[in-house]
Amino acid sequence: MANTPGPVRRSFAPWEDADADPIIRFQAVTKRFGDFTAVDAIDLDIYEREFFALLGPSGCGKTTLLRMLAGFETPSEGHILLDGADVSQTPPYRRPVNMMFQSYALFPHMSVEGNIAFGLKQDGMPKPDIDARVQEMLKLVKLEPFARRKPHQLSGGQRQRVALARSLAKRPRVLLLDEPLGALDRKLREETQFELTDIQQELGMTFVIVTHDQEEAMTMADRIAVMDHGRFVQIDPPNVIYEQPNSRYVADFIGDVNFIEGQVASHTRGQVKLETNSATAAISANSDGTEVAKGDTAWIALRPEKVRIGLDKPKGRGPNAISGEVWDIAYLGDLSIYHVKLDSGEVIKSAQTNQTRMIERPITWDDRVWLSWDRDAGVLLTR
């Protein structure tokens, strides 16, 4: 399997190939705990060498989905196929998948080596092979000098690497990662994100990660599944999730967003006009295939960085424009976020890059300003 990073990765999209066989297949999988339905009739295909992220707030069922894949939970209904074979009832110790735990779950009474070798010993691998594999893993996670240390003699970042090495040692068909970076501080987390993708590319393995951190999912994953109440809301590559969310839930969960509510006034040739309380003129947007009819309630989702701000009314009839008053300014250093209160009382955020070094900025509190954006900057949503 040739695995050159870069160009190959960009064109990597087996989910678009109708002939590709998924490595993991969920078929109408439901999991109930008593009266509570954690996972609700889910279908999902994950492909070989994919880095797949399950994203959602706590309690959305993402961890249950992962634990069913590992074998710690059995589906109440439906089937889970791994390489085409039904593994729904297979106990965890007979599945060719391994998991990296949120708490790392390192065995405190074993050294780093002992932890990494544990799974290999269970397979009855000959001793020289185990030693070689352990060395290989230590090298991969750059922990060679710490082989004989016990877990409590390691820093948080080092423990995280041991957990990773241990779960990779058996070369599982699929590696499951449960909030793998949750316990690390921000800087370390960012470094580790890239390391994880590098390792995944290098080994050509399938990774399934559970996270509640959208940034983590965006940075690492080939595809992201956004979950809510035990169901998928959207499954798409990160850029699609961000630029083409299918619902207010997804748009709101990933990144910052403004919503403008209105009624559809007209829908012709892919262009929609929306009557709103916020603007005097109708707001126009591309429908991008969204089915709406005159009179429907719809929303425009608008990312703050796509909203321009100015003291004068923009010229021409092209872009949408709304006027309001600067209500608050959040100065973040690299960005300034202007909170503009419209006459209708709604607040729209506009993010501006601070490209020049200026202590005083031309727009300040209580200024009367104009917000404007292009027709294709907003996403039309019906739910």
Binding site: F33, G34, G61, T64, R67, E73
Partner: protein, 307 residues
Amino acid sequence: MSGATESRSGFSLGSLVVLVPYLWLLAFFLAPFLIVFKISFSEVAIAQPPYRPVFDIFEGFAATWQKAQEFSFENYTFLFTDDLYVRAYLQSLQVAGISTFLVLLIGYPIAYGMARAPKQWRPMLLMLVILPFWTSFLIRVYAWIGILKREGLLNLALTSMGIIDEPLIIHNTMTAVYIGIIYSYLPFMVLPLYAALEKMDNSLLEAAADLGCPPLKAFWTITFPLSLPGVIAGCFLVFIPAVGEFVIPDLLGGSDTLMIGRTLWNEFFSNRDWPVSSAVAVILLAILVIPIVLFQNAQQRAQERER
């Protein structure tokens, strides 16, 4: 979703794991109580064993029913008519109650001092409290005889210092019993108190002071209420066993010291009246059931909080 209840992860415990300790406790804890209960309804007899059984399950159902009709409450009526027993119960409760209060009074400052001691001292202090707890009860009570008796070390010290002329009579009195109980049960009180106080955040007191609360008032409005779980656990741990205490009243108390544990012992070993001692035990248990259940509930709640 880590709180999943039906998880089949982890070591799936075979039913053997449950059955062995379960059956053991049924056979050697519950069954004996049922037998005590049964015997408490039978009549005393000069035989071996020294009672006439009311019923015997091995005789079959008809015979059992026949005998069950001869159920005798005589032992119980006897207990309530002879005021020796009533007084013994009451005195046991009184002695246990007063001792519990005194142990709390003495134990609290010790636990408080331990909790405020520098961190590196605390394990050492803790060990000093636990050490006597591991030392034989009997030995610790015995040690007090040598101190308290008429020609004992206390009187020796006091007379030689000229504080008293006549030796104090403490041994074989109620005072000695109180001293013995307080001494023996002090660690039971100090340990849970210390555990509760040690967990407390000193910044609470600093916040109280910052808001204008003087230290003594801060103690009563902040420290003490927060240490209540420890106070409750400690009081139960002292009160319940103290009610049934035998060794202390027997070795330190006088012939007039009536405590129910000792009465039961005498009834059993000296009078060989097994039915009456069984009845004594049944009533003692009935008295203690309420505090025991309360104690268990408190423990369970504390444990759930820890989780």
